[in-house]
C-alpha cells in the first residue's frame, strides 16, 4: 500500500521501527502516524463504537472527528490519526468507552511555558503564513502556531498548480507554494513559528489575549499577545447515508493526508462523492497515485468545481455522474461496495436507477465549512452565510472580528481559494499591526492594494457568489435573506 514512485511528490521516510497491533508486529516509519502505519498494513477497523458497537476507522485524519480512538501503551482514547509511531509501541483496538489505567502517580503541577509577542497567528496555512509575514514586515513581533509538523496547511497536500495571477503564485503547485512562503517567513527575523502546536482556547485577561496551546500533545504553552489572527482553515463536511461510518468512508482530506503526506494508498478502488473542486482534484490525485477511480457522483445537475479539473479526470476515463447520490455503503467491517442512484427534480432517488460499484474506499468531498471553533469560543459574533460555507465570524474590511484585537483570514473566514486566503492573510497581518499602533499609516496603502486584488479575483462568476457572501458577513453588512 506504500507509494514509492509519484509523478509529483517525493516521499522521505524516517527510520524503520516496529509497532505491535494487538500483539502482532507491524513495520512502520518514524514520522508517520499510528493510523497511517496501520493503514499501510491493511488494518481498517481502529475501534468499536460506544453504544452500537459499530466498527470505526479513520475519517478526518487530522485529529478532529475522533473516529480513530485507540488504546496505546495502555492509555485509552488516543487519536491514532495524529499520534506518531514510536518503536515498540503497543496498540489495541478500543472497544467502546474505556477504563483509565490504574496504578498511576499524580503528575506534578508545573507552570506553563509563557511566550509573549505582539501578534499571535493561529494556523500556518496560506492565510496564516501571509499574515505572519506581513505583520512582521510591518514591524510586529509575531508568533505563528500550527498543529502540523510542517508549515503550509493544506498546501502541502496539493499536487496541482494554482490559479490566479503569477504574482499570486499561479502555475505553481501547492506543495511548492508552501515552501516559498515558509522561506519568506524564515527570512523575516521577527516571527517565531511553533509547529505541532494546537491552540485550544483564547482567553481575555485584562488587556492581554491568552492563547492557550498544547505542543506535541505534551506541553502546555501560554501565548500572550495583544492581537490574535485566526487562520485555522476549514473542516470537511459529512453527509448522512446508510453506513456512512463504515471504515473506508473517508473525508477527501484524509485521503490526501494518507496519500500525499505519508505516501500510503488509501485503497485500490474509489468512489468519490462530490464534483466540486475538492472531489475533482482528489480524483486526479488518486490517479496520479495509481489508484483506480470508479466514478465521481454529484447530486447537483452540474459540476460544481472548475470545468478544467473535471476534464482532467474525464479524459483519463473517470465518469462524472451529475444528479446522482450515494445511497449506502455496504460491507462487513469495511467498505466493499457503494450503491448510488439517480435523483429526480426533488432530490429523491429514482427507483430502479441504483448502481453498485465494487470499491474499497468512498471519498466524501461534499464541501468544506470554516473552522470557527476558536472564534466562537472567544466570543466573536458568528453568522450563517451559505455562500461562505456555513457559520463565519462577522468582521470588518480589515478582517477584524467583533472582538477587538481578534482577526480572521482564509478559509476560517469563508471557504474560498488559497489565493484569496493569502490576500486576506496579508490584510489581517497588516491591519493587526496598524491597530496595535506598530505599523505607520503608509501601510494602509498595502491593505488597499490587497483589497483591489481580492476584488479582481472575485469578479468572475465563482468569485461573485463569494463576494455576495462577504457582504453579508461584514459588520453592519446586508442581512441574510
Amino acid at each position: 500500500m506504500r507509494l514509492n514512485e509519484h509523478p509529483v511528490l517525493r516521499f522521505k521516510r524516517g527510520r524503520e521501527v516496529t509497532i505491535y497491533f494487538e500483539g502482532q508486529p507491524i513495520k512502520a516509519y518514524e514520522g508517520e502516524t499510528i493510523a497511517t502505519a496501520l493503514h499501510a498494513a491493511g488494518i481498517r477497523v481502529l475501534n468499536y463504537s460506544p453504544n452500537k458497537k459499530r466498527p470505526r476507522g479513520l475519517f478526518c485524519a487530522i485529529g478532529k472527528c475522533s473516529s480513530c480512538l485507540m488504546v496505546v501503551n495502555g492509555i485509552p482514547n488516543v487519536r491514532s490519526c495524529i499520534t506518531l509511531v514510536e518503536d515498540g509501541m503497543r496498540i489495541e483496538r478500543q472497544h467502546g468507552r474505556a477504563k483509565l489505567p490504574t496504578k498511576v502517580k499524580p503528575p506534578e503541577f508545573k507552570d506553563a511555558k509563557v511566550v509573549k509577542a505582539d501578534i499571535i497567528v493561529i494556523g500556518g496555512g496560506p492565510a496564516g503564513l501571509m499574515a505572519a509575514i506581513h505583520a512582521s514586515r510591518a514591524g510586529a513581533k509575531v508568533v505563528l502556531i500550527d498543529e502540523n509538523p510542517r508549515l503550509g496547511g493544506q498546501l502541502v497536500k496539493q499536487t496541482h498548480k494554482f490559479f490566479g495571477k503569477r504574482e499570486q503564485f499561479a502555475g505553481v503547485r501547492g506543495v511548492e507554494i508552501a515552501k516559498i512562503l515558509e522561506k519568506e517567513l524564515r527570512k523575516s527575523g521577527s516571527v517565531e513559528a511553533f509547529l505541532e502546536t494546537s491552540a485550544v482556547g483564547i482567553f481575555q485577561e485584562g488587556e492581554e489575549k491568552l492563547v492557550l496551546a498544547v505542543r506535541k500533545e505534551r506541553e502546555l504553552i501560554e501565548f500572550r499577545g495583544r492581537a490574535v489572527i485566526v487562520a485555522t482553515g476549514a473542516m470537511e463536511r459529512m453527509i448522512p447515508f446508510e453506513n456512512n461510518d463504515l471504515p473506508g468512508v473517508y473525508g477527501a482530506g484524509a485521503i490526501q493526508t494518507l496519500m500525499n503526506t505519508y505516501g500510503v494508498k488509501p485503497g485500490d478502488r474509489v468512489l468519490i462523492v462530490g464534483a466540486g473542486n475538492v472531489g475533482l482534484i482528489l480524483g486526479y490525485q488518486l490517479i496520479q497515485a495509481g489508484v483506480e477511480v470508479k466514478a465521481i457522483v454529484e447530486a447537483m445537475p452540474r459540476i460544481g468545481g472548475y470545468f478544467v479539473h473535471a476534464a482532467k479526470v474525464r479524459r483519463l476515463g473517470v465518469p462524472i455522474l451529475t444528479r446522482h447520490t450515494i445511497l449506502r455503503a455496504e460491507g462487513n467491517e469495511r467498505v466493499e461496495r457503494a450503491v448510488i442512484a439517480q435523483l429526480d427534480e426533488n432530490w429523491r432517488p429514482i427507483p430502479g436507477t441504483e448502481k453498485t460499484f465494487d470499491v474499497d474506499v468512498i471519498a466524501l468531498a461534499v464541501g468544506l465549512r470554516p473552522s470557527i471553533e476558536l472564534l466562537h469560543q472567544a466570543g466573536c459574533q458568528i453568522k450563517f452565510v451559505r455562500e461562505l460555507g456555513g457559520h463565519v465570524a462577522v468582521r470588518d474590511g480589515w478582517m477584524e472580528t467583533t472582538v477587538r484585537g481578534i482577526f480572521v483570514a482564509g478559509d476560517s473566514a469563508g471557504i474560498e481559494e488559497a489565493t484569496t486566503a493569502m490576500l486576506e492573510g496579508k490584510i489581517a497581518g497588516i491591519a493587526a499591526a496598524l491597530r496595535l499602533g506598530i505599523a505607520d499609516e503608509s501601510w494602509v496603502e498595502e491593505i488597499e492594494r490587497a483589497q483591489r486584488d481580492l476584488d479582481e479575483f472575485r469578479s468572475g462568476p465563482f468569485g461573485r457568489r463569494v463576494a455576495e457572501g462577504i457582504r453579508k458577513a461584514l459588520l453592519g453588512g446586508v442581512a441574510s435573506e
Binding site: E5, V8, K161, R166, G171, R173, R302, R314, I320, G460
Partner: protein, 169 residues
C-alpha cells in the same frame, strides 16, 4: 437559472461546443505549424497563460475572462501548455495525414520518445495508437508539468487529449 452548458453536465467539451465559444484555427494555420488551443470555456480567475505568452498572442482583459488565442500571433512555443494550471492548453499541428497533438502528461510512467502509446479521447476511451514524437520532462518545462507530443491520425486531431502508456513487464 440559466441553461446549464453541456460541458458542465458531462465534464468534457465536444469540439462543436468548444468552437461555439472560441474560434477554430484554420486548416492553413494548422498546417503551418503547431498552434495553441485552450479548452478553457469557463470564466475562472486565472491568467498565467497570458502572462507567459512571449508574443502576446493570448488576450484576456481580466483574469476572469476566457483566454482567446490570436492564432496568427501564436508561435507554437508550448509555454502555455507547460504553465496552464488547469492542464487545458493543447497544441495541434497538421502534418500530412497526421496531426501532432501536444499535451500535458502528469502521470507515471512518462513515455519515451518513439514509444507507441494508447490514445484516449476526452472521456478516456481508447481510440487508437500513436507514436510519441517529443517529450519535455518536468525539469525542463517552465511550468513544472511534463509535456508530450503524439502523432495521431488527422481525423482524431480533435478527439485525442490524453494517452495511456502500456508497458509489458
Amino acid at each position: 437559472m440559466s441553461e446549464i452548458p453541456a460541458y458542465l453536465k458531462n465534464g468534457y467539451i465536444t469540439p462543436e461546443e468548444l468552437f461555439s465559444i472560441i474560434p477554430k484555427p484554420s486548416e492553413e494555420r494548422l498546417r503551418k505549424g503547431p498552434v495553441a488551443v485552450p479548452e478553457c470555456p469557463q470564466e475562472i480567475p486565472c491568467a498565467p497563460c497570458r502572462e507567459i505568452c512571449p508574443t502576446g498572442a493570448i488576450s484576456m482583459p481580466t483574469p476572469n475572462d476566457l483566454p482567446i488565442v490570436d492564432y496568427d500571433k501564436c508561435i507554437g512555443c508550448s509555454l502555455c501548455v507547460q504553465i496552464c494550471p488547469g492542464l487545458a492548453f493543447f497544441m495541434v499541428h497538421y502534418v500530412g495525414d497526421k496531426a501532432r497533438i501536444t499535451m500535458p502528461h502528469e502521470l507515471l510512467p512518462i513515455p519515451e520518445r518513439g514509444e507507441e502509446v494508447v490514445l484516449l479521447n476526452r472521456v478516456g476511451e481508447p481510440v487508437g495508437k500513436g507514436k510519441v514524437i517529443t517529450v519535455v520532462p518536468r525539469e525542463k518545462t517552465k511550468g513544472d508539468t511534463p509535456i508530450i507530443t503524439v502523432e495521431v491520425p488527422i481525423e482524431l486531431a480533435w478527439e485525442v487529449r490524453a494517452v495511456r502508456v502500456e508497458r509489458r513487464g
